[in-house]
């Protein structure tokens, strides 16, 4: 096809099997169905708000929600229920544009029982209030799924998100209180700065007392986190950056209060509130959360909440965690097998894409063991569970120690602050001692002045603003970090380990390659004939890869045997395609790669394999990275790709094949014991152990709202090529922070000289402190953005 049309619904390019309907093109039947539902209900405004707003239906999750009728599940999910009406909030990661909001808020046109629907865009959530009269949560979930907005239901993830959300709100409130007091205190301090005439003196006391009052909520409420953090770190016999900050705040507050109460001066309330206000802004800037992403998914989010179990000839839905060894499970099309289980029906094909990243299905026959995490494709099948869910092959990874230990490395700022605090205390006592000899009346004043001016406001702002800017540059490039601490972990990385399938190769690669004696043109045409009538997705791919146009042959017999393959007679010659057993070939060792064997005229000709397509710019990327990092590739596959990989990767890269999930974890652990700081890049559940064990685990995904294993960072596949630039920026960011430390030290030394000499006035403090903070903030944000721009990030 010369011109590719894009799908009217989802905007994906339409491949060969384009569907025309209503003068519009659709890429698949799913998209067309959604269009039909919407147009029947007069909801076509959906397409007017934004072009091609729909969600591609080709890789939707399954639409099986029977477990939502389970009372226990329902109780946990519903926000409100009185028997007649129910209210539920569902996480719908597919929400991405204004059309989505419009459609979801007009759900009542599709289901009249819906009273009200409200979308929260930033959290990708929709809360729906509906009447239960002839309608249920299950039907609601099915409806959403039908129009392409499948809800992701996970009981645990919801609580975590709620906690983060509450912390966010608290910061806003503190920022509001501090900002309010900051503005008012500044206003009241101005007359003092300008100097008061004798006539105005009478107001001085009132102004001072109002300022003092304003400072109370700022110190005791807005700044409370600093005291708590300082207290915690002291209890662990460690000085973090919050210790000198808390010390500075207390000194400022006590001395100012004393000055006002004793009527000897105006105090430093202006400096105090501005300090706290700036610190909170820094916190807010660094605290960039991606609420639509989830970094902490464990295997439970991959599995359904419940599956059907057959017991004493009765079928009921059982919660996945309650599955016991020996249970008979009924798994339906597109459902995930939740525990290692033995197939007891004739045959089934299992798609391991969750686990390995490989997208094509593997055929299993009666008696075969199917590992948890495989997704059934085709008609429903019965299984006997062999292990509990948590003991299964894949999920047992989570029993590894790697999942229990908390990573702890000292932050750069805390290392600096240790020395900083000690030096400041020495200077303060030294100065106090000196003044004790010279002029005892000034001892106390100088001691507090040193602590006030040394309060590491600029120092404390340097890292939040640098890391915050880095986070923003990263997210522009679709690289999302869990939090700012990950940046410091990234700076220490010396070794990068890549998973092969799905990480450095593309997941949705469409190409097949033929292994065996090359086919003649005639054979290609015959094979093409044989698969043309088959509906199996692999058959379509085979047909595309053949590129044959032969009408010289005629199809005389055609039979599609599900789970086995295709049997056809083309111009008198028998053509068989399918599993090794069906065709009569010797099965290869690789169980997890999908292959289609071909025999013509009873003779095995070879097999079709899904060809690995490496991500764009992979070669350039590894060449770049090799200059700074040690590289390593781990693959769960067999060694078929070895030679090709070796030509792509720079010399000295270690490549390991046939790595089980546990092997991968061990490899990372081994590198770490040898002293390396390891970054693991992976995509599937089989990398989960290695991701957790590594110093920084990065999940690479082609759709950030889809499932990705627990990790420290999530990277969109598009950003993969920019990895070396991103890593370079992270390393430069460290120097930016160090440079801004130097700037703030210069301010501190200047301020200290004044303080030690006993010349620190409130006005001087009120100018110096914001000035140092602002210059550090400007310096860091501008430099990081400039560095990012120069790199083309």
């Amino acid at each position: 096809m010369a011109i590719t049309t894009s799908c009217y619904h989802c905007g994906d390019p339409c491949e060969t099997d384009q569907i025309e309907f209503d003068d519009k093109s659709f890429c698949c039947a799913g998209c067309k169905t959604v269009y039909e539902i919407l147009s029947e209900n007069d909801l076509c405004d959906y397409y007017d708000l934004e072009a091609n707003p729909g969600i591609s239906q080709s890789n939707q999750s399954n639409g099986l929600f029977e477990y939502l009728d389970n009372a226990e599940v329902k109780k946990q999910l519903l926000d409100f229920s009185d028997g007649e009406q129910e209210k539920v909030t569902l996480f719908v990661p597919n929400i991405h544009c204004s059309s989505c909001i419009w459609l979801l808020e007009h759900l009542d046109r599709l289901a009249p029982q819906v009273i009200h629907a409200n979308v929260n865009f930033t959290q990708r959530k929709v809360s729906i209030h509906y009447k239960t009269d002839g309608f249920s949560l299950k039907q609601l979930a099915e409806l959403l799924h039908r129009i392409g907005y499948g809800a992701v239901i996970n009981l645990e993830a919801q609580e975590d998100a709620e906690q983060v959300h509450q912390a966010d709100k608290k910061l806003w409130v503190k920022l509001g209180v501090a900002g309010f007091c900051f503005g008012n205190v500044m206003l009241l301090s101005f007359p003092e700065y300008l100097g008061l005439s004798e006539l105005e003196r009478e107001y001085q006391t009132i102004f001072r007392w109002i300022s003092a009052l304003m400072a109370v909520p700022v110190v005791f409420y807005a700044a409370s986190d600093y005291f708590i953090s300082a207290f915690k770190s002291l209890r662990q016999r460690f000085i973090n950056i919050d210790v000198p900050i808390a010390l500075g705040i207390i000194t400022l507050f006590v001395r100012s209060f004393y000055e006002v109460a004793a009527n000897v001066g105006s105090g430093y309330f202006d400096s105090l509130v501005s300090l706290i206000f700036f610190l909170l802004i820094g916190k807010w800037f660094q605290h960039k959360t991606y609420r639509n992403l989830s970094f902490d998914r464990d295997y439970k989010s991959y599995f359904p909440l419940a599956v059907l179990r057959k017991k004493d000839n009765a079928v009921d839905a059982v919660m996945v965690k309650d599955i016991k060894k020996g249970d008979e499970l009924i798994i339906r099309n597109t459902e995930v097998v939740p525990a290692d289980a033995i197939l007891i029906d004739g045959e089934a094909s299992i798609d391991y894409s969750f686990v390995t990243g490989e997208s094509a299905a593997v055929a299993k026959v009666k008696g075969d063991l199917v590992y948890a995490g495989g997704r059934l494709v085709g008609k429903q099948a019965h299984f006997i569970a062999q292990k509990d869910v948590s003991q299964s092959y894949l999920t047992s990874l989570w029993n590894d120690q790697a999942f229990e230990k908390e990573r702890k490395s000292k932050r750069l700022i805390d290392q600096v602050s240790q020395y900083f605090t000690v030096i400041i205390m020495l200077v303060a006592t030294g100065a106090a001692f000196y003044w004790q000899q010279v002029d005892p009346s000034k001892t106390w004043l100088v001691f507090t002045a040193v602590l006030i001016v040394a309060c590491p406001c600029a120092l404390a702002l340097a890292t939040p603003f640098t890391w915050g800017s880095v986070l923003r540059v990263f997210s522009r490039n679709q690289f999302y970090l869990k939090n700012a601490d990950i940046i410091e972990d990234l700076q220490k990385i010396g070794t990068i380990v890549f998973d092969k399938t799905g990480t450095i190769t593309e997941t949705a690669s469409q190409d097949l390659e033929f292994v065996g004696e090359p086919l003649t043109e005639g054979e290609r045409a015959m094979t093409s004939m044989a698969v043309a009538s088959s509906t199996h997705p692999l058959s379509r791919r085979v047909n595309q890869s053949l590129k044959a146009s032969g009408s010289a042959y005629s199809l005389e017999q055609f039979d599609e045997l599900s789970g086995k393959g295709v049997f056809a007679v083309v111009s008198g010659v028998e053509v068989k395609l399918g599993s090794a057993k069906f065709v009569g070939a010797k099965a290869s060792e690789a169980v997890e790669t999908s292959e289609v064997f071909l025999s013509i005229g009873g003779k095995v000709r070879g097999r079709f394999l899904v060809k690995n397509t490496y991500r764009k710019g992979f070669k350039a990327l590894v060449d770049d990275l090799a200059a700074h990092f040690k590289l390593s590739v781990l693959s769960g596959d067999n060694e078929a790709e070895k030679e090709r990989l070796q030509t792509l990767l720079p010399e000295g890269t270690s490549i390991r094949f046939k790595q089980s999930p546990h092997n991968k974890l061990q490899v990372v652990k081994g590198l770490q014991t040898a002293g390396a700081n390891v970054m693991m890049m992976g995509d599937g559940l089989n990398d989960a152990g290695a991701l957790k064990q590594s110093n920084v685990g990065v999940a690479v995904t082609e759709d950030i709202s889809m499932f990705s294993p627990a990790s420290d960072a999530i990277m969109h596949a598009n950003a993969f090529g920019a990895l070396s630039k991103l890593m370079a920026l992270v390393k430069q960011a460290k120097w930016v922070v160090i440079a801004s430390f130097v700037i703030s030290f210069i301010y501190n030394i200047g301020g200290l000289t004044f303080a030690v000499a006993g010349w620190l006035t409130p006005l001087f403090a009120a100018i110096l402190m914001p000035l140092s903070s602002i210059s550090v903030v400007l310096f860091t944000t501008l430099i990081i953005n400039w560095l990012g721009k120069r790199k083309g990030l």
Binding site: D45, L49, E105, F121, Q123, G176
Partner: protein, 63 residues
């Protein structure tokens, strides 16, 4: 007391009212989602098809 004190007290009272409004807006979740309200107000309340044929001729509206 002179007028300046009254003015200051008034200004603080007004500021407190705004602070309270801000705190209320945070608590009531207005900062939870800053995107959808901006789009929602642009949606037309188009009548259903059953209400008459004239609504079908609505001009294509782009946001």
């Amino acid at each position: 007391m002179s007028v300046i004190v009254i003015l200051i007290i008034t200004s603080i009272v007004v500021a407190v009212v705004f602070l309270a409004a801000f705190l209320w807006s945070v608590k009531s979740g207005q900062y939870d989602d800053t995107y959808s309200p901006s789009v929602r107000m642009l949606f037309d309340d188009k009548k259903k098809k059953t209400d008459g044929a004239e609504s079908d001729s609505t001009v294509d509206q782009k946001v």
